[in-house]
Amino acid sequence: MKFKRFTIPYILWLSLFIVIPLLLIVFYALSSGDSQNFSTFEFSFASLERFFSSPVYIKVLIRSVRLAVVSTVICLILGYPIAYIISKENPKKRNVLILMFVIPMWMNFLLRTYAWLTLLGKSGIINSIIMKLGFQPLELLYNDTAILLGMVYNFLPFMVLPIFSVLTKIDFKLIEAAEDLGANKITTFRRVVFPLSLPGVMTGISMVFIPAVSTFVISDLLGGSKASLIGNLIEQQFRYTGDWHFGSAMSIILMVFILITMALTSKFDKEKEGEGGGLW
């Protein structure tokens, strides 16, 4: 049918704004020279070498991955039970509860992070309560815990929603069958419900891990200047230092980590083809 040709503008757009930019990043990562002047570019592994030969950068990478993994695990531990509880409610209450989960996500991401600044700050609410009780104010901001808190707060819904949507689709007859065959509640959950919900868990893991490992806003606002993650390093190279080669090299390294995560999690994701945008 003729309508096939309708993709032509989008193919052009995709090539120009998705494919070429990604190739440019690869090109930058594998070259050196003055970032502003293409004629000075030479093929070189200098940027990648610079990254992998410096313990400082490796430490930042490890720290970013560690914080992202920890926040993903916390999101899973906190999120699975709540997704399970909500999925067991009657449809009407269920919709209201899940809508309540979505609402905070619609608040600007920066404002949600900023909100914690007002809660945890030196003269913030938590500290003023502590001081009223007669204790010394605590240093709650500008450490890894604050970053983790910010990550969990921002990304928890990304874990809960996919798990919830898989849990509500589980055929109830399977659970009944398990119970008829003598399984108790715990066995039913362990052997039937949980394995069936794994696709949702995997989607949730990648949806939390990807933004967490690449964030620079949360670490910037809640972690203070000393706490930098790989996202902060990339931001600095592109916004201030101006070494785009090094910045691109780090972007490529970040993408590799994300591709690995997606390869690991997508094995379980059978529904990938088709609807897409499982969040909504």
């Binding site: 503008p9 909500i86 600007n108 404002l111 900023y114 909100a115 707060y153």
Partner: protein, 260 residues
């Protein structure tokens, strides 16, 4: 019974965690004191200050301008693309669908810096134009993803019947296909609009000197420390987004009813 109380309590704690910061933010936007720990009486002065701040107003103008134009353009391009993709098959369809997923799956920062290198390569000055192009780029995939399911639901024989009865393909498109997939187009457009309003990372990297949107303004204000004007701004933005969400949700309900 104990189990039930435990469940209630857990649900309560999670929602407290989700809402407490937002509620604090909103409550303190009416606080008559710069300090955040103490309540010093009700005031609207932060809202007044907000509307006097020319920087914030300019940013608001840019945000809305970009959101409206990028959502309109991406809705049109995305709908056309979705119809094309729907009638494609085989390998090329898979390639396009996967490329379409790239901006959805790629971390914002990578999309942002890759676009930044593109504009530098093409020697386009950073500013409103680069921001607009970037927003269109990350919005189209969501439009495509919300229109495609509607096309799949459509009875494939409808446009064929129209053309058998003498309609030109364009006429069939206008009179049969577009009306059938309209709910998806509107949902996609609204989604593009909210994504554009909400975006920070991609705008931050692809804006020029002196051009900022609300997110960028909030970021630079927040980095300088606490400012009650941000609280007032966030309250207004939260209410605005809530209204949008209610509209989208209403639409989703209507769609579900239509489906039966």
């Amino acid at each position: 019974m104990v189990n039930k109380i435990l469940k209630r309590f857990y649900t309560f704690l999670i929602f407290l965690f989700l809402y407490a910061p937002i509620i604090v933010l909103i409550v303190f936007s009416f606080n008559n004191s710069k300090s955040r720990g103490v309540w010093n009486g009700f005031t609207l002065k932060w809202y007044i200050e907000l509307f006097k701040d020319s920087q914030v107003l300019k940013a608001l103008y840019n945000t809305i301008l970009i959101a409206i134009s990028s959502s309109l353009i991406s809705t049109i391009l995305g709908t056309i693309a979705a119809i094309g993709i729907f009638y494609m098959n085989g390998f090329s369809k898979k390639v396009i669908l996967n490329l379409n997923y790239m901006p959805v799956l790629n971390p914002d920062i990578v999309t942002a810096v890759s676009l930044m290198t593109l504009y530098r390569f093409l020697k386009i000055d950073f500013g409103l134009l680069t921001m607009l192009l970037s927003h269109i780029t990350f919005c189209i995939p969501y439009v495509v993803l919300s229109v495609l399911p509607k096309l799949k639901q459509m009875n494939k024989h409808l446009p064929e019947a129209a053309m058998d009865l003498g309609a030109t393909p364009m006429y069939a498109l206008r009179k049969v296909i577009i009306p059938e997939i309209m709910p998806g187009i509107i949902t996609g457009g609204l989604m593009a609009f909210t994504l554009s309003i909400d975006d920070f990372v991609i705008s931050f990297f692809n804006t020029g000197h002196g051009v900022s949107n609300l997110s960028i303004t909030i970021y630079s204000m927040a980095r300088r420390g606490i400012n009650p004007v941000i609280n007032a701004l966030s309250t207004l933005m939260f209410i605005g987004m809530l209204i949008l969400l209610l509209i989208i949700n209403k639409r989703a309900d209507i769609n579900n009813e239509e489906r039966g």
